[in-house]
Symmetry: C2
Subunit: 408 residues, 2 copies
């Protein structure tokens, strides 16, 4: 890493110019740094004369969160770049194309997705994405199946696992998702009006037992190469296109963690509709859309995944009658648990979501927070008993009715 | 590996001579090659004038099994040497001391244990080892606890896991334990008189489902650094000393696999007593000793492991009330399953055990084989319902009575 230095805009342009077959020689190029400066530099490089553009993403050797700065490995740029390329090989339409990766600079050059919007923003604006469930389910099914012992040569899988040892970024998840929200940790960021709910959770040892079991799965269950941070802020979207970005948390972990991340973020927006919907009817409509999407994501995933297994399974033993059903049933239970864990931490842990935090009306925001906590904790508590995705929908509906005192 | 070449006895002596602080300078040294020539060269180097001796173990770049030869990674010498050193740091009295490791030659220099016997032989000779249960339970508890997320810094554990990616040797286990015995595979080696029992097992899809679940754990459950091949042929023993050798199969896997290996090999000898015991009374006595040992191994392990957890647990979340009991209960179930799987493969898979194969009387040998298969398959079938080690003892007793038509 001796050659590493953060690029200036001029250097970013210089670098972009020499990528073969992209821009015209001696083209006029312009650059805008569009990163938030917390973790990465992100340069948007464009050629005004042709309209072509690309993204240069460079990892910074530190992370800035709530004012603090701590060192963070540049190896995450390699992990992100390699994960993106594996994902591209499995579902090329669902991730940005990687043009180049420069290890010394921790720099990835990739397709510009400026014509898409960040899905979290799209959901806050109450857009509907009818193709999303199919897209993300296919992304999940293909990336999880073909990197696992079910769909990949099992010896090559072990070697690939070795390339995705990701201690520093896993540590963030282990602490912020599976530990800090369940105690009075400094990292928590709790609005005063929901402190009682947080304190309730800190005392709930039955809930803690389920979290411990989920944490253990996150630490030890090397099922598949996960994206590792698959929230709606890691998804670029427009009507006919879905693109998953930012797999810097990628590592070999439990499949349900990725599926749960998607469902949790849909449900966080569901809770946030306390603040975003302008009237009861439109709230009920949008929530119905979100719940349909949750169900469609799982059902499409399950169908895709079973089909891949039947057509591309590499393991004779795993074709044993009953094993596929057993596997899917366990995966659904994990998905319930991880969905719940991903919801709770977003309400009063270190990192919140705009779907709830940006609600201006304090009482609507509080209702959204309590609803998210109530759904999240119920999902965690129920996870090892779950038998079908319909139970998740029912549970969400029931909690919503209970919190609001009347129907959706 | 360019400098690699198999050592001659002269070269082995030359190498031994230069190890500091071991032999006298210009000492007369003699060498005997005592390996079986299938996987490794093993030189016993001694200094007659002082009685000092050491072992040089050099990996060969191939494996010879039943006449066939296939290439096998020399990296296993590194894995064995590093695993031994980790084990030594955790329970120094229970493994041979490593004097040196020479990567280029795939060579480990270690303590000579010629004053011990291989435990399998000791059991066939019907010796009793009253300290064995305490020793092996302590070995299991310390190595499994302190390499897992319970007892080791969780980020360092991930890095260590990366050093023990062991695809080739894991593949041997995946095939020979979890696949081939459950189908009519070429690798199986089936005596004609028990072919009917093997065919029964090939048709038993309920059994196959449990084997698939166990296989999945072997492939994905990265709980702890396992020895990976902890049968009684990997244990040197004498009255007051137990030494675990040969961890070349070491990798991060499910803890129950190591515990199950120990129990399975005690139970294979238990079955073998059809041939080794000279009369019913002495058979009953020795079997009682073996069953006591099985129970003591588990109980000592559990006590040790819980104590380490309470005193040295590194993870706050894993101190959650109820989680330790949950973990131990799951581990017991895994142990039932892996014990069973380790028994079945030793009866008619590729590699058998002398405890049964060396019984000369064909009808006694057949009784031993059928009893081992019957106990093994029952343990596999029952594994996910197991609640206590007493059930294992009862199950063994019941199968023995059923197979023999009368009590032990």
């Amino acid at each position: 890493m001796t050659k590493y230095h953060p690029l200036s805009e001029e250097q970013a342009i210089e670098y972009a110019r020499q990528i073969p077959d992209l821009f015209q020689s001696r083209a006029e190029l312009s650059s805008r740094e569009i990163g938030d400066g917390n973790l990465n530099l992100v340069f948007h490089i464009s050629e005004p004369s042709t309209g072509k553009s690309i993204i240069l993403k460079q990892a910074l050797p530190y992370a800035k969160v709530v004012g603090e700065s701590w060192p963070l490995t540049l190896d995450r740029a390699r992990i992100e770049s390699e994960a993106l390329q594996i994902e591209e090989s499995l579902c090329p339409d669902l991730v940005p194309h990687v043009y180049a990766y420069e290890p010394d600079l921790a720099l990835t050059v990739m397709e510009d997705l400026s014509d898409h919007v960040i899905m979290r923003r799209g959901l806050i604006e109450r857009n509907q994405y009818p193709l999303f469930a199919e897209h993300i389910a296919r992304f999940l099914a293909h990336t999880l199946f073909f990197t696992s012992d079910l769909g990949k040569n099992q010896q090559e899988k072990k070697v690939q696992l070795g390339r995705f040892i990701n201690p520093e970024l896993c540590k963030i998840t282990e602490d912020l998702i599976f530990d800090d929200p369940y105690r009075d940790a400094d990292t928590n960021s709790i609005e005063a009006h929901i402190r009682d709910a947080a304190e309730q959770i800190w005392k709930d040892t039955e809930l803690h037992l389920e979290v411990a079991i989920l944490r253990n799965k996150f630490l030890t269950s090397a099922q598949a190469l996960l994206h590792g941070d698959l929230h709606t802020g890691s998804i670029f979207i427009k009507a006919y296109s879905t693109k998953v970005i930012d797999p810097e948390f990628a590592y070999y972990g439990p499949m349900g963690f990725d599926i749960g991340a998607v469902l949790a973020n849909l449900l966080l927006n569901f809770a946030g509709q306390e603040g975003w919907s302008t009237d009861e009817a439109s709230r009920a409509d949008y929530r119905e859309y979100l719940l349909h999407t949750v169900k469609d994501v799982w059902n499409n995933f399950e169908r895709n995944f079973r089909q891949l297994w039947n057509e591309h399974g590499v393991d004779r033993v795993f074709q044993t009658p009953g094993y596929q059903d057993y596997f899917i049933a366990s995966l659904l239970q994990d998905t319930f648990g991880f969905t719940g864990a991903k919801m709770v931490r977003r309400v009063y842990g270190l990192a919140h979501v705009a779907d709830i935090d940006k609600i201006e009306d304090a009482s609507a925001r509080e209702r959204a927070q309590r609803l998210a906590l109530s759904i999240g904790t119920k999902l965690i508590r129920f996870n090892r008993q779950a038998k079908s995705i319909d139970e998740l929908i029912q549970l969400v509906t029931k909690e919503t009715t209970a919190e609001r005192g009347f129907a959706l």
